[in-house]
């Protein structure tokens, strides 16, 4: 019994964790390059989920295809948000620390707008659809095909992003910007363009994650929030801008959630996530996670 449980749970944790990794990767791009606190990130995930849902329901497009469209649309949203709102904020601020605080509020406003816009357009009934719902059994382990696809896609995406950041010139530029903004400018990185790219990729990844999630979870306009929290926990645990550690942290969070819920009860799911959230935030300020805040 416990063997079955741990195999099943392991698979579940991997799936949940891999999705967290993708979402957190997107957040890390926005957060890491520009120190903007994207409180709307989970809501972009929600938009991606709705995109895939409607494309499947209306034209029968499989989510593994529509995720590209979801990613593209969300990337476009990212570009719009950057050009419309944040370019001004990034250029204008006198004190960099006010930027973080202001960005949090602005993104929170965006989050409210996205949630309620979705509620207005799609109403609040939870949506779901069935796709790839066959089950594959390996020994005692039962895995639904859609979850396997989710995991596989997330892993492939991770590899692509990793390679991009490692070998492509824009990827390197992004990493440079995360490490040291001024130095990056001095060596000729086009800050403006890289920031735009970070926004686009960051939002795009969230959209794709939403598509993946839509295969297995219910979709509501307000589903995004827990993902935002999870993404922040992951990014902070992994260290700002540290992408490898961020991946590990995402996986870790997935495991904590699945095993934590299994050990206690499903209603403690939120208590756990927020508990980890506040502990992580506190530890971060106390230097444990390598992030001693300057005043």
């Amino acid at each position: 019994m416990s063997a079955l449980l741990s195999g099943q749970l392991l698979f579940a944790a991997l799936v949940v964790g891999s999705v967290y990794v993708i979402i957190a990767l997107g957040l890390n791009l926005v957060f890491g390059t520009m120190r903007l606190l994207d409180a709307a990130h989970g809501d972009v995930v929600m938009l991606g989920a709705y995109t895939s849902f409607w494309l499947f329901t209306l034209v029968g497009m499989p989510p593994l295809l529509s995720m590209l469209i979801a990613g593209g649309l969300c990337a476009g949203l990212g570009v719009a948000v950057y050009k419309g709102l944040f370019r001004r904020l990034l250029a204008d601020t006198r004190l960099p620390r006010r930027l973080e605080g202001n960005s949090l509020l602005v993104f929170f406003g965006i989050s409210i707008i996205l949630q309620n816009f979705a509620a207005l357009c799609f109403d609040t009934t939870p949506r779901a659809y069935l796709y790839l719902d066959g089950v594959i059994r390996v020994g005692n382990l039962a895995m639904t095909e859609n979850r396997i696809a989710e995991l596989a896609t997330a892993v492939i995406l991770c590899v692509i992003i990793f390679l991009f950041l490692r070998f492509h010139i824009y990827g390197l530029a992004i990493k440079a910007l995360i490490q040291n903004r001024q130095a990056a400018a001095v060596v000729g990185v086009n800050i403006e363009r890289i920031q735009l790219l970070s926004f686009a990729i960051g939002f795009g990844l969230a959209g794709i994650a939403g598509s993946l999630i839509s295969m297995t979870e219910q979709i509501t306009p307000f589903m995004g929030f827990p993902f935002t929290i999870a993404a922040f926990v992951t990014v902070i645990l992994g260290g700002l801008g540290n992408l490898i550690r961020g991946m590990a942290a995402g996986m870790f969070l997935g495991f904590v959630e699945i095993y934590g819920v299994a050990l206690t009860s499903s209603s403690l799911d939120s208590v756990l996530i927020y508990g980890v959230f506040i502990v992580v935030l506190y530890l971060q300020s106390q230097d444990f996670l390598g992030g001693r805040q300057k005043s």
Binding site: L37, L85, R88, L89, R97, E100, G101, N102, S103, L104, L105, V106, F108, G109, I110, S111, I112, I113, Q115, N116, F117, A119, L120, I229, F232, S267, L268, S270, V271, Y274, G275, F277, I278, L281, Y282, Q284, S285, Q286, Q293, S295
Partner: protein, 306 residues
């Protein structure tokens, strides 16, 4: 050090309260309901300003203190008289704040914002869990005082909160808080006991919200955790502070007025549009008028030496 009280403002203040106290006599239930709502938001926003506006430690989780107050009231109903349970609710909130604030206030800037938000949600889900364990999904308050009576109490709370903020803003303590907002380390260097002051401000900012929660629990006649700890409460407070301004007692008044007006116009008819407008307002004010309407309308006027 108490601030000089401008006589004209004091007279207006007392006058408004006196008139408001007579409102129930008009017999218009709707009017009393709106006025109660306004008084509630004034009380909450003024209290919030004492900590957040003045020190810059923007709490995004004040719903937690409102909720704790409501919970205490729900638990104490029928056991003790409201005259006792309401102040008790305030004390409970305050104690919680002091305990939690000690580590929490070591976290700076936007991380404090996120921390307080997380804390409020954590409290919410914890209490939902506890209540579920106890077999309760909501608690009823039967035989609560009338809306008119509750309105008068809320009016009192609003007046008290406004007074507290006014006194703090113009006092020596207020100078200290503002210095903390500007530069915490430099403030410490000139002799301000930073950690202690932050904690005092935090406690002060949660006492009245606890009582507000208790009063509202009676007003609604029931307590339900996800409602009492609704993050929207925190969001609304922050929004009012952004719109109205949060450096002294005038801002929250303007913010609450604006907010209640908007809410009466839109909320019942088109709740999603209403929320979208709120979100847009937050963005607009953060980007274009971060110090709120108070700054726009009144400019900078603080008492001067000469």
């Amino acid at each position: 050090m108490t601030p000089p009280i401008p006589t004209r403002a004091a007279l207006i203040f007392v006058g408004v309260i006196a008139v408001a106290a007579l409102l129930p006599k008009l017999g218009n239930e709707y009017l009393v309901a709106v006025a109660l709502s306004f008084a509630m938001w004034v009380a909450l926003a003024q209290s919030w300003t004492v900590l957040c506006g003045m020190t810059g430690y923007g709490s995004f989780g004040h719903a937690a203190f409102y909720g704790i107050g409501a919970y205490v009231q729900a638990l104490a109903w029928g056991v003790v008289s409201p005259w006792l349970s309401v102040p008790l609710a305030g004390i409970a909130s305050c104690l919680f704040a002091l305990v939690v604030g000690y580590p929490a206030l070591k976290v700076r800037g936007p991380y404090f914002v996120m921390l307080t938000f997380g804390l409020a949600e954590f409290m919410k889900y914890s209490i939902i869990g506890v209540e579920a364990r106890l077999g309760q999904f909501s608690r009823l308050i039967i035989g609560a005082p009338s809306p008119n009576e509750l309105f008068l109490v809320m009016l009192g709370l609003a007046a008290a909160a406004t007074l507290i903020t006014f006194v703090v803003a113009g006092s020596r303590f207020g100078y200290g808080l503002r210095a903390i907002r500007e530069d915490e380390q430099a403030a410490e260097t000139v002799g301000i006991p930073v950690a202690r002051y932050k904690l005092i401000a935090f406690g002060l900012s949660t006492f009245i919200p606890g009582m507000v929660g208790a009063v509202m629990a009676m007003r609604l006649s029931y307590f339900e955790p996800s409602q009492a700890f609704d993050p929207l409460i925190s969001f609304n407070i922050v929004l009012m502070a952004m719109i109205g301004g949060s450096d002294d007692a005038r801002g929250p008044l303007l913010g609450a007025l604006f907010f209640v007006g908007l809410s009466e116009l839109l909320w019942a008819r088109a709740p999603q549009v209403y929320m979208i407008v709120l979100g847009a307002l937050l963005i607009i004010f953060v980007l274009f008028a971060p110090q709120g309407l108070a700054k726009l309308l009144f400019g900078k006027t603080r008492p001067r030496a000469s």
